[in-house]
Symmetry: C2
Subunit: 419 residues, 2 copies
């Protein structure tokens, strides 16, 4: 059994504890061992009493606990967690953190200290998207030519609203604050600093380059007005806050700023609070990773993936990634039972009563029609195009077989599922 200690049980920490409990069966199948949270460090003991684990207000209760194998740091800040994680590593404990600010300043010192001890940080960039793993492992054969990403959901939410609804910056910021997508003091997000921390982490993995936030170009989205939005629309652009790392000979550009992006580019299509990161490798070309960049559950998904990865390391995981049956009792659904909405195309002779006859057949199979279009096709022929509400595969196949027998139906009915 592997024992985890969680320092900081806010939204993400609570979610980590929940996932390890509630998804325990698949997690142990994938990790090859049982993983339990033994204890958590919280600010307010009373507020956390529902967690049903050992609680403390002193991080060293976890760091110095000989039973704890993995320390999960979710407290935030820079210097204090740095001291704590150094102490944890000194005690030989594996570390998982979601702390981008810590890594933006101290990643190389931490790598040096960690040595062979596992130190993972997937959740520090783009929340639930496994971008660290993609860059470090999935694209490891490539020289990375560029990384370009939407790494801050707050800014992307605001810019999407400004572009799509024409709402001004101040109003959309207020809305983001009301919805909990922006902090009371939003500077860290809208000034580009949050994205810059993430960019520095990615640039280290891609290029091994050391840089501090102070050394790179960081601009925010505060100055964008309706005039800019109008210009962008007129010229086929959208506006995004981007983190960009780009190799140019022996130099690497690192920059965070608002950018006009061709609206047909994949990165331009990422809207709202979602994040998306495009990576160009010299061999693979462009790959792009999209998903939720924040939120307790999404971030905790990445934290727990790191914990599983650490538990797996040292032994070899089975080829398909699980050790004992992954999901008990799962079986393949009979194709007849699959449910979908359907589009149906019929070519029929254009005679009175046909539509009534055909729609009656739909009704006989309890298939409800959502939309229908009749269009003349050739002389005395028409196309009947139907969209249905949800129905079973069996009923649609039976309907189609029956339709095919009608004299008025001139060719086999054609069906496309609607998802």
């Amino acid at each position: 059994m592997i024992r985890v200690g969680v320092i900081g049980a806010g939204t993400v920490g609570r979610s980590v504890i929940e996932i390890l409990r509630e998804n325990g069966s698949i997690i142990s199948a994938r990790a090859g061992d049982e993983i339990v949270v033994k204890s958590a460090v919280v600010r307010n003991l009373e507020k956390a009493s529902d967690l049903n684990i050992v609680l403390s207000q002193d991080p060293y209760d976890i760091i110095n606990d000989p039973e704890i194998d993995i320390v999960v740091e979710l407290m935030g800040g820079v210097e204090l967690p740095f001291e704590l994680l150094k102490a944890a590593l000194k005690n030989g404990k594996a570390v998982v953190t979601a702390n981008k600010a810590l890594l933006a300043y101290h990643r190389y010192e931490l790598q040096e200290m960690a040595g062979e001890i596992p130190f993972e940080f997937e959740a520090s960039v783009a929340g639930g998207i496994p971008i660290i793993s993609a860059l470090r492992d999935g694209l490891s054969a490539n020289h990375i030519l560029s990384i370009m990403g939407i790494m801050n959901g707050t800014c992307n939410f605001m810019l999407t609203k400004m572009m799509n609804e024409g709402i001004a910056f101040e109003a959309v910021l207020a809305e983001a604050q009301t919805l909990g997508f922006a902090e009371a003091d939003p500077t860290f997000d809208i000034g580009g600093f949050d994205a810059a921390h993430k960019l520095l982490i990615l640039a280290s993995i891609a290029y091994g380059i050391d840089a501090k936030p102070e050394e790179i170009l960081i601009e925010g989205i505060e100055g964008i007005t309706q005039a800019d939005i109008a210009f962008a629309k007129e010229f086929g652009y959208t506006i995004k806050l981007l983190g960009i790392a780009k190799r140019d000979g022996d130099e690497v550009e690192l920059r965070v700023h608002a950018a006009l992006v061709n609206k047909e580019a994949m990165i331009a299509k990422i809207d709202g609070v979602m994040n998306g990161i495009s990576v160009v490798g010299d061999r693979v070309g462009e790959t792009l990773y999209y998903g939720p960049g924040a939120g307790g559950n999404a971030t905790a998904s990445a934290v727990v993936a790191n914990i599983i990865d650490i538990v797996r390391s040292g032994k070899r995981s089975p080829m398909l990634g699980f050790n004992h049956p992954l999901e008990e009792g799962l079986h393949l659904k009979n194709r007849d039972d699959i449910r979908s909405k359907y589009y149906l195309r019929l070519r029929v002779s254009d005679k009175p009563g046909i539509l009534a006859k055909i729609t009656q057949l739909f009704a006989d199979h309890a298939i409800s029609i959502e939309a229908v279009i009749q269009r003349p096709s050739e002389t005395e022929c028409a196309h009947l195009l139907f969209a249905t509400h949800e129905a079973s595969e069996k009923s649609i196949q039976e309907l189609m077989a029956q339709l095919e027998t009608l004299d008025a139906v001139l060719e086999s009915p054609y069906m496309i599922r609607i998802v």
Copy 2:
């Protein structure tokens, strides 16, 4: 030093050999060891003589070579590679394969045989996109609710053309064949079988479910006509060939078919030969992975990533993913030297000669203007909006500083970079 043997040196095999040679320095930094291709098995010895490695026509020359650590299978087919890889595993050799058909039929037997021996297959699904790793490792904390993806570039190329350009199926198939995106016998792609093989592999990792291609719903795109395209457009859909795995209680639906997809969905925005796979996890929500699903280099990128992963396994990789300096001599570019296109917004008093004065300043800084719009803003005021050709950060900053000193410029110039 780790020695690799490559069975099958077609487009992908050649690319694997090239990447391991040409990207050797970053690969050894990431793998922590040198990796060399010792030998290759080819059909035509003469055609492969430029590869400068030991060549043979007998796969057992690799499988039985005690010096070979990793066998890479890129020959295709089902039963012959199955026999060969069983023999390789018996000899204790790690295996990397890109062979989806083999895995669609024999993945569980291979997992059983492999046991603790590494057996990797990232390239078997969606070419260069690290989707296997995302599903097996990155999302390992999640119950997977659904997988929905564009897993066949040939079909997606054809459907994109049919949607965007109104070209009929037969004509676009001929074009795809001319461009090399479709085989002379295209059945395997356009009938949905290729996508089905990939779907089965992903479904095993997500659900541990065993199914053969014959057991699942597989339909292709052959029957789609202009009438269907017109209907799709009218109702805000696009048409995609999708592989879908969906959990519903204790049942898993597996199906491959054409589908009408809301054109605002991320998956609908994946066009041309590209692949894209959306995965919904119970904790993380939706993440999506986009990139090239085929092509020698993209597929080889995934094969080599698997090789690196195998070489790393057993020892712990450093936190940032590389052992000695990753890219020699790389340094941060001075921000003054960063080049971009720029958008500039000026609010100016609407007097004669202003535009001339301002554009002269652009010229003085050798910044070439691509587009300009003048719009009245308030009484006697105008907005001047410029898009420039590429220029250095230094020159644009100097220009902006100088513009700010002009009496006619009523507020600080505002700039957004164009990427």
